[in-house]
Symmetry: C2
Subunit: 250 residues, 2 copies
């Protein structure tokens, strides 16, 4: 049995009941060191834990598949949802290469994605059509990323930005904001959330023309509003359109 499990944004409180149970029943838990650290020691007691550093994801997922092929009950843990910029696909691509893949029972346990946890802290910035774009060009050509930024901004999607920065790519965020600014006004509200639901959580509401890049690191999620996103009571609201159709007063 091989399960790819989303831990949600960080705390055990935002893990699903099924994620908790799946990890508890596993014999082997595989994951990036930073994600293993999100799981309580009590939950990991008596299990084989295989953790590797950040760029070790291929090695990690291969190890997990091998342990499962050898008959172990294996869990690969990811933060957020395993299907969003995480390990569900890579595990499947590794399974795909193996002749014994059909003998390995496989499941994906969805989780609360990072951008939903960020949105909840910001108020209600999503609420309407949205696009999610990663600025990492490790596995995607930068031209494709640029095209998606422009398309999403031009069609007035709310935009979630993942992987806004890394040690190697300090200029990408600036370029991305410049592209979005060709279509969205400088006073468009932008939510900037670091470490949602983890120690060190930080929530900022800024504007497209005023984003402070020093407040942003690799794990920050940015949520750029659409043309009707507003700020109220230190929260972002992207109205769905009810006020135009219904009386929202008492």
């Amino acid at each position: 049995m091989l399960s790819v499990v989303g831990l949600g944004p960080g705390s055990k409180e935002l893990m699903t009941v099924r994620a908790v149970e799946t990890i508890e029943q596993a014999e082997v838990v595989v994951g990036y060191t930073g994600y293993i650290d999100l799981i309580s020691k009590a939950m990991l007691e008596g299990k084989e834990v295989l953790s590797t550093g950040m760029r070790g994801e291929v090695e990690r997922c291969k190890l997990a598949v091998e342990r499962a092929a050898a008959g172990k009950n294996v869990v690969v843990v990811c933060s957020g949802d395993p299907g969003i910029y995480a390990m569900a696909g890579l595990v499947m691509e590794i399974l795909e290469k193996r002749d014994d893949a059909k003998d390995i029972e496989f499941e994906i346990v969805p989780g609360v994605p990072a951008f939903c946890a960020a949105a909840a802290l910001l108020g209600a910035p999503l609420m309407h059509d949205f696009a999610s774009i990663s600025l990492s060009d490790l596995l995607t050509p930068w031209e494709v990323i640029e095209k998606r930024l422009a398309a999403a901004a031009d069609a007035d999607f709310v935009i979630a930005i993942y992987n806004p920065k890394s040690r190697k790519r300090s200029g990408h965020l600036r370029k991305a904001l410049d592209i979005v600014s060709r279509f969205k006004k400088d006073d468009t509200f932008v939510g900037i959330v670091n470490k949602a639901d983890r120690e060190g959580q930080n929530v900022i509401i800024s504007k497209l023309g005023e984003v402070d890049e020093d407040k942003i690191d690799m794990q920050t999620v940015l949520l750029i509003g659409n043309n009707s996103t507003r700020k109220w009571n230190d929260k972002m609201i992207t109205p769905r359109g009810y006020a135009a159709k219904y009386d929202l007063d008492d």
Copy 2:
């Protein structure tokens, strides 16, 4: 205290620990009848339950705010995540109109969105940049929806379609698929998921040129792949790009 809580796709297993605890501690639970039914009777015992039919969301959220203003511990429940086409925004818009809003403690408890639950059942169809678009024109002009469909398809996003059909809008899905087909090939894989994680769950993998509209209702989520989405072992995989950089064989 007023909490807007995401129940996740359906079963208690995919509720977060915090959602379960928040509902357990509430005195009043407010929600659409269909969502209230997702919560076990044991969890609701001894609570005031205020449920209304599908178009009653404004009335429901006003009631919830009034009960919270009167000092009750109130939970508004939504399926999926409360920030994605659900009640987080509407509750905030109603709060915004009240002079006593600052006296009402307010929180949003994120949940597993329907499209993530659908993706997990389909395999790994998201994995790369994606856009989410609702075909409901009750609150959004159809021209805006058309523009977003074209933009997302042209920039090769994976596309999640919410609200593909209703009794009043039988032609919208056909129009939407035609727009997407101007940019994506007819053999692009499309995942069609009904009632993810609920009784009656049904998962279909089809192609853009072959979507059977009879298999789709109001609550179906469609996930339209990007140009590299493939099918393997009755699952969808949208590769992230690892295979181009790493050796995925043993």
